[in-house]
């Protein structure tokens, strides 16, 4: 046997007392003295450091580099943008795997392919043969480049410290970046093999490798051996070549689609016509689709699939053990052992925390007959004894960062409410609780949720009185000179109200037309998207309509609103780009030095490249004006046909000279909800600025028909009346309100900063140009801090910043001043509040009674009509309507 190879970290492993073993021809640490169980748990709760320099690293360049990779990998390399990575499988002609791999694109014109150590020579030989037909080159960089993996919830902080706070990568899986760690330039990838949502792989120069290793260890990263690397990947359900990929225990090829990742990792895009193994892979894909539809009539192309398996009886799963169901052998365990997890408190909730206690479970993966369903009870033959087991959906979930959470087979179930046994008592109880809640929210609590507002007594009374139980469908009809025709009687009052409402809103927005029947902001957007798609297809009604694309919007992580995302209201209207096989959406780039602000110059480049047919401004985490004027000017100069919409949901009540005048700046459509900074009940609104002689006036007409009969039949008439009152209030008091809201937000931000809190944004503009202030509380602490504030009578949102992975990892609070401004708070009151919040957040002091005391002096809503005549009329309306 040839001598074992050693990585550049060999000395470090030996010094640390690691047990060294032969792994694929490399002398590698299987474990350090603390052992596999401790190493596994340290990665899940802290930060594990893995030497992965034994893996093969091939650099591919040349004119045909992409074409070569499209040929030898299963993934769609055209979907790989600069600074992204993707999982791929190296297929053979039979649709089996030669290896699995990860492909990285750190620079425009070179790709790095990382392959398994044990397969590196085989892969190199295969790829070297295939590359001959292409104008492309492949270099083996395995020696020159050190490769480390840093995994677990604390890995980000450790890297961030070494990078002195420099931007690492976008906070999404598979994002790449190039940074200096303690002065050494490295490539980093947000990838890993542990299932942890926060984890990185580090590509460093060989000569810098040991220095970086030492610096990571100094900061608390714990070296982890191959033993825990295996238990971590097994718990995450990730395949290992030789177990779940390659040959099965009888020496037969495992089809690539036997692993569930194949549905993401295999592409049949047009550019992959020549992919090795394409025809058998297409047959496997068809079989996989049938199986997922529970059609088990023909399993020949995919007889078995890799599934998670969890032992419920006593024992330990091991690779090779046969699995039975009702006496019939249905497959075997491909990987298995006993795996530790931390016992958690508040299991199944956002406030879940680790305890010191650990528990063990025997879990693994198994290649099982394709007709086995999730939650099927099975048995595993452990040295002659049949031990009960189950096929769970998964062992671990990584979708609630900053750490992966074990999912146990007997986890907590959602409690289900039973119907009432005593209805009169329940009715009484509901009334009492509602009264208590109203009193708490209106008299003791300080509400800083920026998307909420208390409506005036007039708005509330009108929203509940007749016609709130009525119908008033109406539609423009060409035969009647485009007049609105009502389908119901008894609608003269609401007809008059709606006409007045449109007139007030047209005046407020400085636009030509308003549709106010939509009953939410989300519905406003869906209505516009549906109308745009219909308008796009209006000249061809004989084919299935084409969806919209490209669309330019704000990414949700950068504060983009859910109602303009492909997973939100855009879902049914956005096309898939056939080249990348992803939603045809691109995002506004943001400034590196201020992630809350759109980078106009970079946006222009994105617009030139993608020529988006639809541009959606607007955010839910919003500190700045949107650059509507600059982008309008640019698309006009470049003659790019597009539609510019501004989703003003959060800032609808700020339309005006103190903030933004969207139509003056060049927006064509404004949507929004009427209850955030605006004064209304909870509804939506669509405003456009098309004139009757314009071509796009037809888009406006389509918007109306998509509103009714498209989106609503009953448009909730009570709140229409309430909204008219809110529009009167806004047009009467809006100027003063808007000026005070923005001044209060700026001074509140300054006070929070002065009180010692970490306020996000640009200090040069007092952090905000809107009603919102963002306060950073520390990575992952947002939910806990928000809950603590609620217990102390301050209601806020926890908020993920643009550097964080999502709401569960959020390390910030989103505060809004609009509602308390309406209750009379000024700079002095917000300063008092800032000091109380700092006491609670920074020093964990109880502030509930002081907050209630502060609030008690400000319970009368302002910026609404309150003279004697109005109050008398309100009393009369209350009496008449029985409210």
């Amino acid at each position: 046997m040839s001598e074992l190879k050693r990585t550049l970290f060999y000395e470090r492993h030996v010094e640390a007392g690691a047990t060294m073993v032969d792994f694929g021809g490399w002398e590698m640490p299987i474990q350090y003295p603390d052992g596999i169980v401790t190493e596994h748990l340290a990665t899940r709760s802290g930060c594990g450091l893995f030497d992965v320099s034994h893996m093969g690293r091939f650099r591919i360049t040349g004119n045909d580099a992409k074409a070569f990779l499209q040929h030898v990998l299963t993934s769609n390399v055209s979907a790989l943008d600069l600074n992204q990575a993707q999982y791929a499988i190296i297929p053979n002609e039979n649709g089996g795997a030669i290896d699995d791999a990860y492909l990285y694109r750190f620079v425009e014109d070179a790709y790095i392919l990382v392959v398994n150590a044990a397969n590196a020579e085989k892969d190199w030989a295969h790829l070297s043969r295939e590359i001959k037909a292409f104008d492309a080159q492949m270099e083996n960089k395995s020696e020159a480049v050190a490769l480390l993996s840093l995994q677990g919830p604390k890995s980000k902080q450790i890297l961030s410290d070494m990078a002195e706070g420099a931007f690492l990568t976008e906070p999404v899986k598979n994002a790449l970046g190039t940074v200096k760690l303690c002065g050494k330039t490295v490539h980093i990838a947000k990838t890993g093999y542990t299932g942890e949502p926060v984890g990185y792989e580090i590509f460093a120069l060989r000569e810098d490798g040991v220095f970086i290793w030492d610096e990571l260890v100094k900061r608390g990263a714990k070296p982890i051996g191959l033993g825990a690397r295996d238990t971590l990947r097994m718990e995450a359900g990730l395949p290992l070549y030789g177990h779940e990929l390659g040959l099965d225990k009888d020496g037969n090829e495992i089809p690539i689609f036997a692993i569930s990742l194949a549905r993401f990792a295999v592409s049949f895009a047009e550019e992959k016509k020549g992919m090795i193994g394409r025809a058998p892979l297409e047959r496997q894909f068809a079989a996989s689709s049938r199986i997922l539809n529970r059609d088990f009539s023909d399993l020949r192309k995919l007889p078995r699939r890799v599934r998670p398996i969890a032992l419920t009886g006593r024992g330990v799963l091991r690779a090779g053990f046969p699995v039975y169901k009702e006496g019939k052998e249905i497959g075997y365990v491909t990987s298995g052992t006993m795996i530790p997890r931390y016992v958690v408190e508040n299991q199944g909730s956002l406030l879940e925390t680790f305890t010191d206690q650990k528990a063990m479970r025997s879990i693994g993966l198994a290649l099982l007959d394709s007709d086995i369903l999730t939650d099927d009870a099975v048995e595993v033959d452990i040295r002659g004894s049949k031990i009960s087991a189950v096929v769970p959906a998964w062992h671990l979930r990584g979708d609630a960062p900053p750490y992966a959470r074990p999912i146990v087979v007997d986890g907590p179930e959602e409690p289900k409410e039973k119907p009432s046994a005593d209805l009169p008592a329940s009715a009484l109880n509901l009334l009492k609780k509602a009264a208590d809640n109203h009193a708490w929210r209106q008299e003791q609590c300080i509400n800083l949720i920026p998307s909420e507002m208390t409506a005036s007594r007039a708005v509330r009374l009108l929203s509940g009185s007749d016609p709130s139980f009525r119908y008033a469908e109406h539609k423009r009809t060409a035969s009647f000179y485009d007049h609105e025709v009502f389908y119901y009687q008894g609608t003269k009052f609401i007809d008059e109200v709606e006409r007045a409402l449109v007139a007030e809103l047209v005046k407020y927005f400085h636009c030509t037309e308003v549709e106010a029947r939509v009953i939410s902001g989300q519905m406003s957007n869906v209505t516009v998207f549906s109308a745009l798609m219909d308008y796009k297809n209006r000249l061809d009604r004989k084919h299935t309509p084409k969806r919209l694309g490209y669309i330019l919007n704000n990414h949700i992580i950068k504060g983009g609103h859910l109602s303009a995302q492909p997973m939100g209201a855009l879902h049914d209207y956005v096309a898939v780009d056939p080249t990348t096989e992803r939603s045809a959406v691109v995002n506004f780039p943001v400034l590196r030095e201020n992630l809350f602000k759109i980078d106009v110059e970079e946006t222009k480049k994105v617009i030139e490249r993608y020529r988006p047919e639809f541009i959606i401004f607007g955010k839910s985490m919003v500190l700045h004006k949107e650059p509507v004027r600059e982008i309008r000017q640019f698309v006009d100069e470049m003659k790019i046909p597009t539609t510019i919409m501004y989703d003003m949901a959060h800032v609808l009540g700020l339309v005006g000279p103190h903030f933004q005048m969207p139509f003056e700046e060049g927006a064509e459509i404004v949507t929004g909800s009427t209850h955030k900074t605006f004064f209304g009940p909870q509804r939506g609104v669509i405003a456009v600025n098309y004139k009757e002689d314009e071509l796009k006036y037809d888009l406006w007409k389509t918007i109306q028909t998509r509103a009714f009969p498209g989106a609503v039949s009953n448009h909730h008439l009570g709140t229409v009346v309430g909204l008219l009152m809110a529009a009167y209030e806004m047009n009467a008091f809006g100027d003063e309100y808007q000026k005070n809201v923005i001044a209060n937000a700026k001074s509140f931000a300054r006070s929070l900063k002065a009180a010692g809190l970490d306020v996000a944004g640009d200090p040069a503009i007092s952090y905000t140009e809107t009603h919102q202030v963002i306060v950073k509380t520390g990575y992952g602490t947002g939910p806990e801090v928000a809950e603590r504030l609620e217990e102390n009578n301050v209601i806020v949102n926890y908020q993920a910043t643009p550097e964080e992975e999502g709401f569960t990892a959020s390390g910030a609070l989103r505060l809004g001043v609009s509602e308390m401004t309406r209750f009379g708070f000024g700079e002095k009151e917000f300063e008092q509040l800032a000091n109380l919040i700092a006491d609670c957040v920074l020093r964990n002091k109880p502030i509930a009674s002081e907050v209630a005391k502060l609030r008690a002096g400000y319970t009368t809503l302002g910026y609404c009509f309150s003279d004697e005549a109005v109050n008398n009329a309100l009393d009369a309306l209350g009496t008449t309507s029985g409210m």
């Binding site: 474990q31 052992g35 596999i36 169980v37 330990v316 006993m338 795996i339 063990m360």
Partner: protein, 125 residues
Amino acid sequence: MTLQNDRKYTSSHEWLLDLGNGSYRVGLSDFAQNALGDIVFIDLPQPGDKITAEASLGDVESVKAVSEVLSPVSGTVTATNEALSSAPESINADPYGAWLVEVNDVTGFAELMEASAYEAFCANA
């Protein structure tokens, strides 16, 4: 590696401790627990079961692998260390305290070494 002079050892790394009155305790040596790594599961005979010297007494499993425990003695099991079923890792923490079984009615022994001989044996292992 630690050793205890009050007991004898097998070449398969079990120990046997004479409790007097014809009773013996069986356990795993420090060398064994260290080689196995984190012990996560143990399967032991029940009181009343007959066991035979140099034959399997049960299984001990670590994260990495399963190993048989070979009995250093032939006889009848009188007690099993039940605490190990929920805390098998105590063998790692305290190999000479965390016994596996107690045996009496002893009819024979495996080949056994004194601590010093076992130490030399391990040094060459």
